[in-house]
């Protein structure tokens, strides 16, 4: 009954073909099958935001999607945002603003903020806070994360 399905996905510009069980979550496919452990798994029910990745350019919870559903899709994980020697502007800003401590929420924060910056003006810090409200951080108190995003978006306006 649970035959495996063949899927072809492009993850961080690399094409992968695999046989997967339909119940395999996209988050587990990325971490266990592909070894891309940058995507973190916190709550597995869409509350913590740690597993957020881009699917066809939109941020999604990878724990609320099955790998088989991603067949033919283009996926970007935190590993695709930048590398140690070539961080994205947002990653660099997180580094400079001390926007992480333990780092568990960071991949989800980075992917979410990347999508937010694409879709919303984020004119006020309030908007950044609202936008990040679906990502839990238990270390920083969020202040430095908001500052890191603010630094990339530009000065707060409209207040």
């Amino acid at each position: 009954m649970t035959d495996r399905r063949s899927i072809k996905v492009t993850v961080n510009s690399e094409v992968h073909e695999h046989e997967v069980e339909p119940r395999l979550l996209l988050s587990d496919f990325l971490r266990s099958t592909l070894g891309l452990t940058g995507t973190h798994v916190g709550c597995e029910h869409g509350v913590c935001g740690a597993c957020t990745v881009m699917v066809d350019g939109d941020s999604v919870r990878s724990c609320l999607m099955f790998a088989v559903q991603a067949d033919g899709c283009r996926i970007e994980t935190v590993e695709g945002l930048g590398a140690i020697d070539s961080l994205s502007r947002l990653q660099q800003s997180f580094h400079e603003h001390h926007a992480l401590q333990c780092g568990f929420c960071t991949p989800g924060m980075l992917v979410t903020a990347t999508d937010l910056m694409k879709k919303y003006p984020l004119a006020t810090d309030e908007e950044i806070r609202k936008g990040l409200s679906g990502n839990l951080c238990r270390c920083t108190g969020y202040q430095h994360i908001v500052q890191a995003v603010r630094a990339v978006v530009g000065k707060e306006s409209g207040r």
């Binding site: 009954m1 649970t2 399905r5 069980e21 339909p22 119940r23 979550l25 587990d28 597995e44 029910h45 869409g46 935001g49 957020t52 939109d58 941020s59 999604v60 919870r61 724990c63 609320l64 999607m65 099955f66 088989v68 559903q69 979410t112 999508d115 937010l116 879709k119 806070r129 609202k130 936008g131 409200s133 679906g134 990502n135």
Partner: protein, 295 residues
């Protein structure tokens, strides 16, 4: 946790989807956005034998304008509703409400059909369906039927759908130009389910309310229209006194539950305050007094 094993099909037509559901003998589930279903699968609260993934059926994701209504395909994502210029123009109260629906990553996936079929008692979309007198188009092997939102929601997580039914479309009558509207919600964090929320519309003729609609959510087992309170407004130009009277009536008529997030008393208090604010804003908006014009 991880989901229990299930069989999985990806129909390419509605007919294939309804046929697949019918073969599951009541043990099949429709997978659309998955934002409510997959958590329940991960927790093994649900262990369906078959998932019917409708995401690749063409023709279920559209927003179309007709003379008197906007037709929305069941697979339209929350983010598409939030950003649709057609919705913004004819149903601005819905655009406003969508900003409060969950978080961006969930709005990118979650669908209108899924939200209505799931019928969380604190969700925004079921309340908007009641407010706007939506009609749902539902298909199964035995044909297509249309159900008014007022008949669709039965109880918490319980709607007028059989195991073989698929919601395919939602028809939303346009608001008349000049209609005042407002949406008010209190939630613990931005994007969380509402502790209490309301959406209202006010039609004005000759300086008095000609039609009022008040919908509430989070304060009972299903989204409600408070028709007794709506009637109080008709024929009057609402002032602070009348709005207070309406709010008091709404408070008296709802039966909220106590849970981890809020007591019944607190929810009852909240809905009174929110309905008052919403009516005030809608009345002013109908007169063009709010910054954002209605239509």
């Amino acid at each position: 946790m991880k989901p229990a094993k299930f069989d999985y099909v990806v129909p390419r037509t509605l007919e294939e989807a309804t046929a697949a559901l019918a073969t599951a003998n009541g043990d099949g589930k429709i997978l659309a956005g998955g934002q409510s279903l997959v958590p329940m699968l991960n927790f093994r609260l649900l262990k369906p034998a078959l998932l019917v993934d409708i995401n690749r059926i063409p023709g279920l994701a559209f927003i179309e304008e007709e003379p008197h209504a906007i037709r929305v395909g069941a697979l339209i994502r929350h983010r598409q509703l939030e950003t649709s210029p057609i919705i913004a123009r004819h149903l601005p109260v819905l655009s406003e409400a969508m900003k409060h629906v969950a978080h961006l990553a969930i709005r990118n996936r979650g669908t209108i059909g899924g939200s209505l079929a799931h019928a969380d008692p604190a969700a925004e979309l079921p309340m908007l369906a009641r407010l706007l007198d939506a009609e749902l188009v539902i298909s199964s092997c035995s044909g297509t039927r249309r159900v008014a939102a007022s008949d669709f929601f039965k109880d918490a997580l319980t709607v007028d759908l059989t195991d073989d039914d698929i919601v395919t479309e939602i028809a939303l009558p346009k608001l008349t130009p000049g209609t005042g509207w407002a949406f008010e919600e209190v939630s613990r964090r931005a994007g969380d389910f509402a502790l209490a929320a309301t959406a209202v519309t006010i039609g004005v003729t000759d300086g008095a309310v000609s039609e009022a609609r008040i919908a509430v959510t989070g304060v009972g087992s299903k989204p409600l229209r408070i028709s007794e309170a709506e009637t109080l407004l008709v024929g009057h130009a609402p002032n602070a006194e009348l709005i207070a009277e309406v709010s008091t009536l709404v408070r008296a008529l709802v039966e909220p539950n106590t849970d981890l997030h809020a007591s019944a008393d607190y929810r009852r208090h909240l809905i009174g305050v929110l309905v008052g604010r919403a009516l005030d804003a809608a009345w002013r908006r109908a007169h063009g007094d709010l910054q954002r014009r209605t239509l």
